[in-house]
Symmetry: C2
Subunit: 298 residues, 2 copies
């Protein structure tokens, strides 16, 4: 099973990479620097977790992965924009991301801000490209745009990032920690799962179960990320470990300790799996991804 | 006629302001600072040119202004996001905008970046709110999202801003000047006109004429803006005049001189009006706005 999942992730990552390559303009477009900057971060070696969740979720309800590819790529573009802006000097001031200098270190702050702006904007351009979707209803595409923008805006990702920044150096409790993580990373991960399912024609019952899976998975992923930031090594992560400590970030290990965090992650994954109880073997990749979340080394 | 236009602009501005007030969450939402920051810039006294163009365009093809209000407000949100990001220290480093300290001067750089991100994202949330549109076809809403994101992204507004920044202090010709202005401001102004018309059910012939009107108007507006930046006074503009000179910005007066710029603006307005030749009196506000473009003092 483990090898099956690895093959699945590898194959889907290739599909997503090829699609992103085809959707993003080449660097001969004008002005070249914005396309270089956008491509630099989009092809910086991301795991493509969000697009793969979108594809796997479409398959789990009987749809075809290829039919939802534009939406999967839009999710990755939104994720990449958020990383570029998070790394800016005014935010986390990070010099490295995935083992490479951050966007603003290579292209300067102005272009990095604009590359993030462009990726966010183009995500909505891509996901509103009706002709790229095979068989999705127009109503479903519009619904996905509505949900994705909600998950990315001030009631989702942006709100989480604001509280994260405001909490640096503060003593905060579990409630704030949950707010940050369910908004900053959880909302987009849940949206990824819902997006694939909605476009593939899921029933409202299936959607409800997948949302709960997404919510638990998103939180488990973030707890695991926090643990890796303490324990991981620089090569595997591609960034300085302990950077959360440097920035006095609120994390699960700092709030509840390392061992309790590990236990929490295991519980969340077990919980995520229960929501897939009524799905057949087509949901096996979603199950594998949940388990992988706490086994990964980077 | 002049009074009629003034009444029209005032009444439509009030309609847009009230709609923005109703769409934007209050500052008791969590985290309050992002809603304070967003509201600060949205209600900083903008003329609401883009939303009014959207409403006037819907009326010109026989539609109702109220039916396209969410799209009109989304246009203003995208415009406001672009101003917040343009003013950042890494970009134009402006301290004042419309007579008030810029967003980052009040809320800090991190929150200003995120307020811009949020406004851009929420614009797509608003414009994909199907239930808010009265009578628009789902296909039309999706088309508008597609066009608006194209006009705002790297092939539109963002691309124009990149070239603008890269051109500071450089000697550039008319071609670059046109690229900057047609992309940085022209694309969104044309999109505003098209958006209202598409949602109101315009024919492709009407849309074509309105696009050409929008293109000429957008350029006229920018030439007039450049002239005001040289000639205007601080009170009326709410920002330092001569700031283009300080930043060594590429402007029409620097490239072609002041008198030729005035002549150019008049020609563009005359040209914009010819494209409305086949429209009846319902297009009178669009005609008035074109004339107003070169008569305004701020």
């Amino acid at each position: 099973m483990k090898n099956n999942l690895e093959d699945y992730l590898k194959s889907k990552k290739e599909t997503v990479d090829a699609a992103l390559e085809s959707y993003l303009p080449g660097v001969s477009s004008v002005p070249p620097i914005i396309f270089e900057s956008v491509r630099y971060s989009v092809f910086a070696g991301g795991k493509r977790l969000r697009p793969i969740l979108c594809l796997a979720s479409a398959e789990a309800v009987g749809g075809k992965a290829e039919a939802v590819l534009p939406a999967a790529c839009a999710l990755e573009m939104i994720h990449t924009y958020s990383l570029i802006h998070d790394d800016l000097p005014a935010m986390d001031d990070d010099d490295y991301r995935r083992g490479k200098p951050t966007n603003h270190r290579v292209f300067g702050e102005a272009v990095a801000i604009l590359a993030g702006d462009a990726l966010l904007t183009e995500a909505f351009h891509l996901i509103s490209s009706r002709e790229l979707f095979k068989g999705a209803r127009v109503e479903s595409i519009l619904r996905v745009i509505h949900e994705l923008s909600q998950a990315s805006g001030y009631f989702g990702m942006v709100g989480g990032q604001v509280v994260d920044i405001q909490s640096e150096g503060q003593t905060v409790g579990e409630e704030t920690l949950y707010f940050i993580h369910t908004h900053k990373t959880g909302a987009l991960i849940t949206a990824a799962v819902r997006t694939g399912a909605i476009l593939a024609g899921a029933t409202e019952e299936q959607l409800h179960a997948l949302s709960q899976y997404g919510r638990d998975l998103g939180l488990a992923f973030q707890v695991a990320d926090d643990i890796l930031n303490v324990e991981g090594n620089r090569e595997a992560l591609g960034k300085e470990t302990g950077s959360d400590t440097r920035l006095k970030k609120v994390t699960f290990p700092t709030v509840m300790g390392l061992e309790a965090s590990r236990q929490k992650a295991r519980e969340l994954v077990a919980h995520a799996l229960t929501h897939l109880g009524s799905f057949d073997e087509k949901a096996e990749p979603l199950r594998g991804i949940a388990r992988y979340t706490i086994e990964r080394k980077s």
